[in-house]
Structures are given as C-alpha cells and as structure tokens.
Symmetry: C2
Subunit: 389 residues, 2 copies
Amino acid sequence: MREVAIIGAGSTKFGELWGTSFRDLGIEAGAKALADAGLSGEEIDAVYVGNFASGSFIKQQNLDALVADYTGMATRNVPAVRTEAGGASGGVAFRQGVMAVASGMADRVIVGGAEKMTDLDDDRVGQILNACLDAEWEAGMGVTLTSIYAMIARRLMADGIATREEIASCAVNSHFHGARNPEAEYRKEIKLDTVLRAGPTCDPLTMFDGAPFSDGASAVILCPLEDARKITDKYVKVSAVAQASDTLAFFQRDSFTSFGATAAAAKEAYKLAHIEAKDIDVAEVHDVQTVGGVLALQDMGLYAKGEAGKAFLEGQTHFDADKVAINTSGGLKAKGNPVGATGVSQIAELYMQLTGTAGDRQVKDAKYGAAQSVGGTGSSVTVSILEAI
Amino acid sequence: MREVAIIGAGSTKFGELWGTSFRDLGIEAGAKALADAGLSGEEIDAVYVGNFASGSFIKQQNLDALVADYTGMATRNVPAVRTEAGGASGGVAFRQGVMAVASGMADRVIVGGAEKMTDLDDDRVGQILNACLDAEWEAGMGVTLTSIYAMIARRLMADGIATREEIASCAVNSHFHGARNPEAEYRKEIKLDTVLRAGPTCDPLTMFDGAPFSDGASAVILCPLEDARKITDKYVKVSAVAQASDTLAFFQRDSFTSFGATAAAAKEAYKLAHIEAKDIDVAEVHDVQTVGGVLALQDMGLYAKGEAGKAFLEGQTHFDADKVAINTSGGLKAKGNPVGATGVSQIAELYMQLTGTAGDRQVKDAKYGAAQSVGGTGSSVTVSILEAI
C-alpha cells in the first residue's frame, strides 16, 4: 500500500448558519481545502463525504451525487461515496478516502463532511440524533443519547473514576480553546461554575456539558506521500486510520466506564503508526458530552483511568501546558458539532497543528496528532494518527 | 493491488416481509453467504453495508454498528462501513468492499445490502424515495422519480429510440425470469398487455413498469483471488468495479435519452477488465422503471441506440436466447427492490450465473457478467464486472 499525505484543509465557520444552504457549506469547505493545497478541482479523482442524516434533516439522500455535482466533479463523472456511521460519519469517510489513495485507486482525493441541522426545531433534531442509538432497545423505549451519557457520568462518579467537577472541566477546556479558534461556534471562555449551574439536561449533566446542534462543513485533500512534497511544503503524513465496532445498544457492553471500540481502534492505530500513546502531542476527541472527553482520554491510553478528569480540571489539556493538548479546535462543545463534518474537522485541526498554522492555539513542536470520532455511544469509533514531516 | 474474488453469496426472499425485522433480514442474508463460502463469521475482518434510508424507514442510523453487532462481529470490534448512494447504495458498498481487499486492508470481507421499506404507508415511502432526487430543484417542486422516468419514456418514443411496447417489454422480461427465481417477489410471467393496460402511474408508465417497494437483504463474501481456490471450488473473479457521477438534477443533463454516468462507468469497467461490451454474457441492470432497463442496455453498449427496446420485445434478453441475458434474477421489477439490497443482490445473481448454480434460469457457459446499479436518475452509477474462473 502507498503512504498517504494530507496537503490541504478547510472548514466553514460552524454555527446556526440559517442563511447558508447545505450545498453552499460543502462548496465553501471544499474550495478552501483545494485553495489550501494549491490544487484545482480538475485534479481530484475521487470524493468521500461523511454525513449523518441529511435524509431526515433536509430531505436529501443520494448525497454522493449532490457533492460530486456541486463541487463541479460530476462533469468529469468523478466517483463520490457517502459514508454514515452516526457521529463517526466523518471519521469513516476519512478512513475510506485514505484507503482509496493507499490502494492506488485514486491519486487526489477530497474528503468532506457536512451537516445542516438547524433548519428544524430542537425536538425534532434530538429525535433524529437519537437514531444513532439502538432504535428497538433504546431510542424506541425513550432512551436518549444524553441520558446514556448521564448514566455513564453517574457510574464514573460512583466508582471514583471522575468527580462531577472533573467531568464538567472537559467543557471548560473546550471553551478555552474555542475562544482561540476563529471558526468555532462559541468563542468565549467559561468557568467551571457555568457548567455546573446551567440548566439540567439529564442529571447530572447540564446544557454546558453537551455540544450544540450546528451547521457546518470541513474538507481535507489527500494524495500519495511521495507526491505531496512536489505539490506543497505544507503536508502531513497519515500514519494510521483504524476503526472498531461495539454493540449498538449500550446496556450490552462489558464496561459502563469505557468505550471498548475506542480502546481497540487506538491500539490498532498505535500499532500501525509504530508509536505509543505517550508519543501523541495533540488529540481531538469526541466530547459530544463532556463525559465522552473523559472516556476518550482514558480509552486512548493518554491518561490512566481516574486521571483524565483531573487533567481537564487542572488545565493539563491546554495547548500551552506542555502535555498532550486536547481539543485545541474547541472540540465538539465549543467548535460546534455539525455531525457529519465533525470527524473531518478534527483531521483539519490536526493538519493545522502539525503544519504550525494553528495561530493562537498552536501547540509547540507537535509531532504526532490523534483524532477520535465516535458513532452512537461508542458503537463505532475511528482513531486516526497524523505525523508532522 | 491484489486481485479479488467472490466466494459466497446469499439473499433473503424479497417481498413484503412484515414478520421479519431489518436485523433478521441482514442476519439471514449474511449467514447464507457465509455458509455458501464455508466460512465462519469469526474469519471476517471487515463489513460493508449498502443502505438507502434506514433513518427514515425504521428510525435507525449508525447502521454500520448495527450490522457489526447483529452479525456477531462487534465482539471482535470488526470495522463496519455503511454507504448511501440512492439506488446505487449496494453497488457502492460492493466497490468499497472490493477496494478493502484489493488494498490489503482486509482479507475476508462481507458486503451486505438491506432495506426495510414496507412498514410505512406507500405515500410516505414514495416521499422518502424521492429524496434521491435533487431536493431543492426537483423533489421540493413536486417532481417524483417516476415522473422523470415518464418524461424519459416520452423522449425515447418521440425520438424514435423505443416504442411504448418495447419499453414495456423490459417488465415482461423481468417477470419471465422472476418466475424462475425462488427468491423473487413476483414469480409469475406476464404478457405485454398486462403492462400496457395496468393503472397509470405517470403517463405513459403504468404500475407494471415500476419496481415494487420491498423488504430484503443480500450479501456476498470477498477475499483475495489467490486465497479463493484454497477455500472453495465455487468462486468468481472481480474483474472491475467502476463508479461515475452526473448532475444530481436531471434537467441539467446534456442528454435526456441516456445516463452519461452509466456510459462512463461501463467504459471504465470494460477497460479495467480488458474486455468489450460484446464479451458480456449476462447482465443485471437497474430497471427501477422499465425505461431504466432500456437506457442501461444502450449506455452499457450492449445494444445500439434504438435496438435495446427491440431486444426486450423480441425476447433476445432471455436467459436461453443465446445473446446477452438481461436481469435473469427478475430484475428490480420482479425480484423486488429493497433499495440498499438491490446492488448487492445483482452481484449475488451474477455469482450464481458464473458458478453454474442459477438453476432454472442458468445462462449456458456464462464467462463475463456485468451489474449496473443506479442512484437517483443516473446521478451515481456503478458498473461491476465479474468473470468465471
């Protein structure tokens, strides 16, 4: 297999973008990524797009064709593929795009992710999001994504793995970084008290533990590593793309304080990249609820069980703390969470960090970056590792 | 890249399967395919699944995880990927599965397709299907999939490319074969008059020009060609998997009597397989409406423009006619069209034909088979070529 590089990235601002259509979001992110790579759309020979639920959100399926069309690729009949894996839709699209280049089936690939969520009322959006759970054993019984994360929080607290304050600190960390990312939906730092005293969603979680419903799109450009240096000075190597599954329903898991699929995907990713967890300098993790951030750090081996929450609380996760920097983009919580875009936007953030173009939130001398993208409550997880060259 | 083989296939019966859940359909098709290959599920290291709109049909997204879970793969964290490309969802899943084996990222892959459509009323199903059109410029204005095919029919007739009788004959051909396929939804031969005199859907098309709404699932097992002969005597080579896109909206096309994406994908597929259209012995084409069958034969170069309709009318397309046999499974029209399953079921049919296990509809000495899977009105098309070994 060929080694693969990322040579460009671009994102729209994330937020409630009522004046911008799904199509325009995709075009903007794609055009920015192409411009960043210094490529023309004419050079792209395959398109991958991650999207969660456009059929429900905007009554548009056949999304591969839409993306090929509105990026101008359809006039050349460029093949496009849409992947869906709940919140991991973008992560899975990235993995398939990397596979296309690695296999030799494509030479210049654009991987995009997009979601348009805010055209519906919040209740309906919540229902659609809950379709990432088990429809028969969870969502159909009234269980919601947030309620499962709330139960995980209770379990973490009861088992002495993390305190309520430590869990809430994941959101404080995300906002700390979101304030430094011009494309983030929420650009304000918050205090721990803000999270703890916000209105409850599912006790003990509050409004500030959860990521917002957002519109947005992100894209990255891939090519063989051997071509990258001829195209641009600004490229990173894709050292691993791993993916793992777990039971769809959460109650069937062996552990309620760990996502086994994260652990499995991370283990595979480190093996493929020939590194260990301690080598990671910067990581983007799936904090759709703060709890998810705590689990991620533990399951990826970045912190021992019981230490991840503390790391958030003590600010060890900040971009300038000289430890592994977590969610320098602002994470799902502050950057925003247009579901299908999220996994790709994580890759875009790491690309910036590893090419030294992350501005006010730049991690010093970052060599290895890891992105973790989660579908459902850890039923499908991708872990990708990028390396500065 | 490694050469890839198919070593097993299985399908559920297609139809209104009100007593069988989406999950049970998937399990049945997967288990049949594994048994056919003589493999245990333990040996599978990647899963691909094509599905059109489970979020809308059964309120279930995150379908990759569901499939991994209910096939027992989740206990080993096997990665699963869901693709969506309208009616081509299954064809795209097959292409990605082949890519996974070709690239060396997986050694034993199951590619499945499934859809559960009949739990909703027909009006709602129709709305969901129309989401494969352009939501802003077509479906949102009241245009339906059937109405576009009806306009294509009018154009074919006006331009002297096919008569109404010739177009309708595509359905007669599908029923001729469906009667010989135990898994088909409709197992009765019909006469041309039955199609012409049925209730109108969009004039000139009638109820008998269109494929039904169906439940069902299909699966095939892939491995490297070099391993295939060690596992089974019953295997075929995957000689090509090609995919092409076109504008999402039909009105933006250059031609209204051709699907450019079919022509582009077929051209690429023949090139990859080092064959010509005239080498194809058996083909499964996307007759979601009869018109689609006529276009397919022309765009794939199996018949010259103006000759495809005649071929159907004269029965040249029958399995025993000593020409290229078309839709020996019964096609979408008679076999049934559980959208996500359809593209995979076409591959399963070709596997049977090329291994001499197609029973009452066996094409004699079939060497090359081609499958064409269409998303929307030709906005995304896959063409795959299989070869008897």
